[in-house]
């Protein structure tokens, strides 16, 4: 897997946090509290007069606005895609024929989600993440299914929680097209673990969880080597 490269950062030399009017607007819009000295611009940053910040090389900043939310989804899809690629490469023999087809489909679906988001984000896409699957036993079917359930339920809750932050209606619909497929995955994996538990995530109002990015990233952190910063995401 490719080593993550540091996004270009900009330093506010005067230390005021206000460099250009656009940035002031941007900061306010992003709701950034600390008038950042390490503000990472992931979009339309083409003036390279500023110094590149020598910050922690492993930190990946998701960015702000809709781009940030799409990068957040892209990060989660990278994780899922890498996981099922590993399952198909290492563990397929443990599964029944029907289950093998499911794992192949999940690998394909998460792979195309990842590649689609990368293509849609273009230059604004975060780098390839380095995953850490050292805690997963790929020789243990139960462990694989439990991990799959964690990832799928987390993905559903993540999209459900992030939809409200998207400002572009087209992106919102796209997120909707993906999240229901994640929910289908989650239901199928849950049924493989224990038939009939497909929707046991729902509360007594019949609602699936909706999680905030910080909580989702914390849950995903043990499986991703890079530190991911959601500081500039819409709040």
């Amino acid at each position: 897997m490719e080593k993550p490269t540091q996004k270009q950062g900009q330093q506010d030399k005067a230390g005021t946090g206000i460099v250009v009017p656009q940035r002031r607007m941007f900061l306010r819009y992003a709701g950034a509290t600390a008038l950042a000295t390490t503000l990472l611009l992931t979009t339309s940053c083409d003036d390279d007069d500023d110094e590149t910040m020598p910050t922690d090389p492993e930190t990946v900043d998701l960015g702000s606005g809709d781009t940030g939310i799409l990068n957040y989804a892209y990060a989660l899809e990278q994780l899922e895609a890498a996981f099922y690629a590993e399952v198909v490469a290492k563990s397929l023999g443990m599964f029944s024929q029907t289950e093998q087809q499911i794992m192949q489909d999940l690998k394909g679906h998460e792979g195309i989600h990842r590649d689609f988001l990368k293509a849609a984000l273009g230059n604004a896409a975060i780098p390839d993440l380095e995953v850490d699957f050292s805690t997963i036993n790929f020789n243990d079917k139960n462990n694989i299914l439990a991990t799959a359930r964690t990832f799928e339920d987390l993905g559903v809750a993540a999209y459900n929680g992030a939809g409200q932050y998207l400002e572009n209606a087209g992106f919102l619909t796209l997120a909707g097209k993906i999240v229901s497929v994640e929910a289908r995955h989650a239901a199928v994996i849950r049924d493989l673990i224990s038939n009939g538990t497909f929707s046991d995530t729902a509360d007594n109002m019949g609602l699936d969880p909706a999680m905030m990015p910080a909580d989702v990233l914390q849950a995903a952190a043990p499986f991703i080597k890079n530190k991911i910063s959601a500081n500039n995401l819409p709040k």
Binding site: G108, G111, V156, V181, A202, G206
Partner: protein, 266 residues
């Protein structure tokens, strides 16, 4: 009048004003497209409409969508309630357990939507009379027909909520609730599909969904491969099959398409 001064003032008690107005970008664009003189003259009026939209006196579309969703949830609740009560229809205990769970969720959705509509000072529609036997005469005596309709209703529900998400973009609370219902419908759909030995996801325009011709509108357009700015999503990365490309993205239905499907049961 200094519009930016006004917005700064508003920001003091609503820090999210920029976000609210930003989602109204098109309204600003409209402002800008007027001639300068006209723009100045029209400013107070146009501004009023921007704020009205941003701060949601305009709940009528949201209410219309909530009532649209309520009708679907009534249909589902009614269908499962009657199905579970039909003697000898659902005999397998695992199947009964699944449908009881699904029925409970649909009933909860009905209650939640009614409460939400009322909280927005709207009037929930009353439950329509459904006629499940109109086009599927053996719906409550033939378990396979019942299962087929259950699948069709769940997949329709997923597509219907998805089709309205963008119309809820300015009401974060309602949007999030709709998304939380939407994913539960998708979980139901996947389970029911697998009860019929179908895959949990939709490939092509219902190619793997095993429904009779009359129910095909449920899967119309599911073979779409154009996603966002990507003309053919099969071509991203190292390339994907049509089955993967269509299975990985569920497609929305318009209100009109949903109404057409529902009319088969009215």
């Amino acid at each position: 009048m200094n519009i930016f001064k006004i917005i700064e003032e508003i920001e003091k008690f609503d820090p999210e004003v920029y976000g609210r107005l930003d989602s109204r970008r098109s309204a600003f664009k409209n402002l800008g497209s007027l001639g300068k003189k006209t723009a100045l003259a029209a400013m107070p009026l146009a501004l009023g409409s921007v704020f009205q939209k941003a701060y949601g006196q305009g709940n009528s579309m949201v209410l219309e969508i909530l009532n649209f969703a309520l009708k679907l949830e009534y249909l589902e609740r009614n269908f499962y309630t009657q199905g579970l009560a039909a003697s000898g229809l659902i005999t397998d205990s695992a199947a009964r357990g699944a449908f009881e769970k699904i029925q409970m969720h649909e009933a909860a959705h009905v209650d939640l939507l009614i409460t939400t509509i009322q909280s927005l000072n709207g009037t929930p529609i009353s439950e329509p009379t459904f006629n499940f036997g109109k086009n599927f005469a053996d719906w409550n005596t033939n378990y396979q027909t019942f299962l087929t309709l259950a699948q069709a209703f769940e997949d329709t529900g997923v597509r219907a909520y998805k089709g309205q998400a963008a119309n809820l973009i300015n009401n974060d609370t309602v949007l999030t609730v709709a998304l939380q219902i939407h994913s539960v419908e998708a979980r139901h759909a996947a389970h029911v599909r697998r009860m019929r030995s179908n895959k949990g996801w939709i490939e092509g325009a219902g190619d793997n969904s095993d429904v009779p011709a009359g129910a095909q509108p449920v899967y119309a357009g599911e073979n779409n491969v154009m996603q966002g700015s990507i003309n053919d999503v099969k071509t991203v990365g190292e390339g994907y099959s049509a089955a993967i490309a269509t299975g990985a993205f569920d497609e929305p239905l318009t209100k009109e398409q949903v109404a057409q499907i529902v009319s088969l049961f009215e």
